[in-house]
């Protein structure tokens, strides 16, 4: 699974992208965050305040409870500020 980070989430983690295979019991975006937090201090810091994190699964906006079981690409980022 490809995991992407943007904006300050990317900066806190220290890189923009990682390829990772979470354990089989990681089935939702929320559970993926729980698991990512254990990977590094940067991950823990990036996800410290979860209410500020937005999620995209295969390039579609998603909710914490949405399944990532069949996902190819999951992205985490702050609320968008374009336009």
């Amino acid at each position: 699974m490809k995991i992407l980070y943007f904006a300050w989430v990317r900066q806190k983690i220290g890189y923009a992208e990682e390829i990772n295979t979470p354990p089989l019991n990681v089935k939702t975006a929320e559970q993926l965050i729980d698991w990512l937090i254990g990977l590094s201090e940067g991950h823990a810091e990036a996800f410290a305040n979860r209410s500020t994190i937005r999620i995209a699964i295969d390039q579609q906006f998603a909710e914490p409870n949405d399944s990532i079981v069949k996902a190819v690409e999951v992205a985490f980022f702050p609320p968008v500020t374009g336009g």
Binding site: A7, Q59, F61, P78, V80, T81, G82, G83
Partner: protein, 155 residues
């Protein structure tokens, strides 16, 4: 019906001329240009030297297309255009252009405003501002969410 994600500037006069050329059915052209500003009143008066717009390649293009499709579903548009730039900008640089063409002005105005409200909340862009004292990520504005949620009831 065009969406462009690009680094180079755009020419609003040229784009409107292209879209209206040879047409006799267009009564209304609404357009909006979003420009990088020096000040950000939400975060105090410290002047912005430059800003960088980061985006999510792939998803951004998809979202622009979806937003444009949604506008065409809701209003009778003859044509519409979204150009969104990314990269580094200084105050005064145009960042986004939205143009809507319709027979009557109500549809053109509403669709143009809808597109901007949705771009602000549905397109994966993030702004980082540079000031004399350093850099900061721009926080999402509640007013942008409120503006976008106005349209939800009309679905």
């Amino acid at each position: 019906m065009t969406v462009c994600l690009q680094e180079p500037p755009f020419d609003v006069g040229l784009e409107i001329s292209r879209m209206t050329a040879e047409r006799k059915d267009v009564g209304a052209v609404a357009s909006f240009i979003g420009i990088a500003r020096e000040d950000n009143p939400d975060e105090g008066a410290e002047p912005v030297i430059a800003m960088t717009l980061e985006h999510y390649p792939g998803m951004t293009e998809n979202q622009l297309l979806e937003i444009e499709l949604e506008a065409r579903k809701r209003w009778q548009l003859i044509d519409c255009l979204i150009i969104h730039r990314y990269g580094r900008f200084i105050p005064g640089d145009p960042i986004v252009l939205v143009v809507t063409l319709s027979s009557h002005r109500k549809a053109a105005f509403e669709a143009c405003e809808f597109l901007m409200d949705y771009l602000k909340t549905q397109a994966p862009f993030w702004k980082r501002e540079e000031t004399e004292t350093g850099e900061r990520w721009v926080a999402a504005r509640q007013t942008d969410n409120d503006a976008a949620s106005r349209w939800a009831t009309k679905t």
